[in-house]
């Protein structure tokens, strides 16, 4: 029941938004085609604009992952996280989450196929991935698109939110799924 409802939402959101915007624009007598094209022109500019920012951050994160630094971080943080009820297998996932969205989904898929999608650990992994965003990517793309290089407190606030999300994910999973 809930599943069908959610499928419905993700399936119909885009078509419904499109219909509403187009019909309303028609009703308001906006010159639709010209307006669309003039907005769409921006797309190329934005895409090219974010290249240097995205290359900078993805190279740094890629190097960090390839160096094995995450294993060292995992070893350092393991004793603390064991205390709050996070299984050791999920630690790399928690560290990857703010750095790389596809990386996090990859690790989650690995965990789900290794332990079974119905296992406690796979459910906790799923909640951990769903509970936060790829902070570094979001900040890079959004700030990059307007040429901002001084983020001030934005990164720290984002990371605090990530940590809060991960801790909440562990706590709630331990209550609901066990």
């Amino acid at each position: 029941m809930i599943k069908e409802f959610l499928n419905c939402i993700s399936l119909y959101t885009i078509p419904v938004i499109l219909l509403v915007i187009l019909i309303y624009a028609l009703f308001k007598k906006v010159s639709i085609y010209e307006t669309f094209v003039s907005g769409a022109k921006e797309g190329f500019k934005v895409g090219v604009m974010i290249i240097p920012y995205l290359v900078a951050i993805l190279v740094a994160i890629g190097m960090f992952r390839a160096s094995g630094a995450i294993d060292i971080l995992t070893a350092l943080l393991a004793p603390i996280l064991n205390k709050i009820g996070m299984p050791a297998e999920l630690l790399p996932l928690a560290i990857i989450r703010p750095l790389s969205g596809s990386g996090a989904l990859g690790i989650m898929a690995e965990i789900a196929s290794e332990h079974g999608a119905n296992s406690f650990i796979a459910k906790m992994a799923a909640v951990m991935v769903g509970c936060s965003e790829t902070t570094f990517y979001v900040l890079t793309v959004y700030f990059g698109s307007v040429g901002i290089t001084k983020f001030r407190h934005a990164l720290w606030a984002g990371l605090i939110a990530d940590i809060a999300g991960i801790l909440a994910a562990v706590t709630i999973s331990n209550i609901i799924f066990i």
Partner: protein
């Protein structure tokens, strides 16, 4: 950001030397530089489409209408943005689209919101409080439909993938509240450093 970037690279190189993974790290530079360009280029199409649609929404007045609708919340969250400004409408649409799991549409709309906030920004290379608040909320990732996670659970044979929805809503709501509190406190400790007149 500069310090974190340098930190990531320096730590990577030192750890790679200790671990004997220099080859992999060097390869990662090449692969990820390419990936950065590929992602940017592949975004252009969908970006163009949604920026076109958003322009329509803007011209017909829907964005202003949404901005008006969310005024009670946004006035408090983004006091620097003038009332009824279309940046507020775009911010609301971006957060809603993200919550519904339509990231494809959310990113271009969010970028539009950033562009509009940038027009109000006096120091073009530095984030404003409004931008930081917007992105803190964005990175906290409030979600009603965690589409990609459910897709993986289904693919790996989960019996009841939608059971993660309830916890996800609850936890991202909590994360969002923490993000707002954090950003509002932190903004007092990170003043905008003003530079000379010559930098426009």
């Amino acid at each position: 950001m500069g310090y974190i970037w340098v930190f990531l690279i320096v730590v990577s190189i030192i750890v790679a030397i200790i671990n004997g993974r220099i080859q992999e790290v060097t390869q990662a530079i090449i692969d990820n530089a390419k990936l950065g360009v590929e992602i940017s280029i592949s975004l252009i199409g969908i970006m163009a489409f949604w920026l076109g649609i958003v322009k329509l929404a803007e011209k017909s007045g829907i964005i202003k209408f949404i901005a008006k609708l969310v005024e009670p919340i946004t006035n408090w969250l983004f006091p620097e943005i003038p009332k009824g400004h279309s940046a507020l409408g775009n911010i609301a649409m971006n957060i809603s689209a993200n919550a519904l799991g339509v990231t494809n549409a959310a990113t271009p709309i969010g970028i539009k919101a950033m562009q509009e906030m940038q027009t109000l920004n006096k120091q073009k290379d530095t984030a404003t409080n409004s931008m930081a608040t917007f992105l803190a909320i964005n990175t906290a990732g409030f979600q009603i439909v965690p589409a990609s996670v459910i897709a993986i659970l289904v693919a790996t044979g989960s019996k009841n993938p939608s059971e993660i929805v309830g916890p996800t809503i609850l936890i991202t709501l909590f994360g969002t509240i923490i993000a707002i509190i954090a950003v509002k406190i932190l903004q007092n400790f990170f003043p905008v450093k003003s530079v000379g007149e010559e930098n426009d």
